[in-house]
Assembly symmetry: D2
Homo-oligomer: 134 residues x 4
């Protein structure tokens, strides 16, 4: 697992199965970068809003999720074979963040953040499984 | 300078001058995230290519530029008033990276990276000047 | 797993079992920060040395290991309950980096880096197991 | 400015003036890593404490300062000649964070954080000036 050679990052081979992997990875990079951005902006929203929005576990998971998404995106951008490790970790954090966002009622920004985290978790799970099957 | 209040990050006020700032910042965030991604992939390309592409100053500036772009984007995503400081630093690094990329002949990936760095430098310069005029 | 409440980060409770956890976490933070620093300096050494030292898998794993060590340290500094996830990922990357460093003969800096990675892997494994037993 | 060659990162030359630079840089790396860690723990402390401690400008500057300290340390660990740019930015952020910490009365953790930020600002200023005189 996680032992295949490092990809070039830009000049992926163009046979079909690699193309499939490439597209899935490209999509996952975008999901991770988007989730990082949305969690960071949502954090700012929570602190500006105050009250229950600054509850320690919510702020904490937003910071955690933003950071692991950035790390996970960077591993894929470098074409690292170890992206399966970071994608698996990222999926777990994204699910936890999705749950924390959904636990707060009647906040559009948090609802949006929860959706983005859910989509990123799914994409990262797919990448983690693809990698470990290789 | 850099002393205005922290923005909410998502609920920017909607009067005209702020809208203008908001659009420019949104564009600059995208330029920085893109430049971070392209520098990281170009680094991988250089190491995979070998030879003069692994020259210490080229690899070094690609790492530097990728990191400051990430930091600069994060400051803007948080709506930090200190984005003027990080944007100014980012503009300087992007120009240095553009120059290093253009110094290598006949490499499409490096040529593309140089263009992306140039565009990011311009966008960051605009943000730094806007902020210091406030 | 990973579901205990977020620690304060500085005012850990002082009963014995928590004190034990606190000391182990403090040690692991230091190992991760040290491993991040040593991998980053070793990367620079490899690029400056050239030749087989710039081989794509070696440079790649040094970048990967440095980044996950930084992320893992940050999770613990924030007192995140999800440090068990990032410590487990960090341990895996540190072992891979240790192996890559040891594969190059007769290079003091790489030998040192391999040792530091090995120590960090052990410390992270301990934290990951401690957390999942809670 | 910022145009000297990239250092090896570990095998600095050993003539006197370089030794002096090396020691000052080593000290500055440690100040930045320490300041990053203390700001990150102080952030956690503020969120756990609640009330005025979660005020948006305080949380924001702690996040900003932690991130630029990490970036600044990484530039020096890589032996980048552009550390003068990031050290100058870091000094400015550290001073702002010191001020924000000192503005809150009767909080030991914030008082400690203010001191650490002040020391890091001084060290970064020295590095920035040294670099621009070269």
């Amino acid at each position: 697992m996680a032992k295949s050679e490092r990809h070039n990052g830009v000049d992926f081979e163009r046979d079909q199965s690699h193309q499939h992997t490439h597209d899935a990875m490209q999509e996952c990079i975008e999901e991770c970068l988007n989730c990082h951005a949305v969690c960071t902006m949502t954090l700012q929203h929570c602190i500006a809003t105050g009250g229950e929005h600054t509850e320690v576990n919510l702020i904490g998971i937003l910071l955690d999720c933003a950071e692991i998404c950035q790390t996970s995106a960077n591993f894929m951008l470098r074409g690292s074979p170890y992206h399966v490790v970071t994608c698996a970790a990222c999926a777990e954090l994204c699910r936890a963040c999705e749950e924390a966002c959904r636990a707060v009622n009647a906040d559009e920004q948090l609802a949006h953040c929860g959706e983005v985290c859910g989509a990123c978790a799914e994409s990262c799970d797919r990448m983690a499984q693809m990698g470990s099957e290789e």
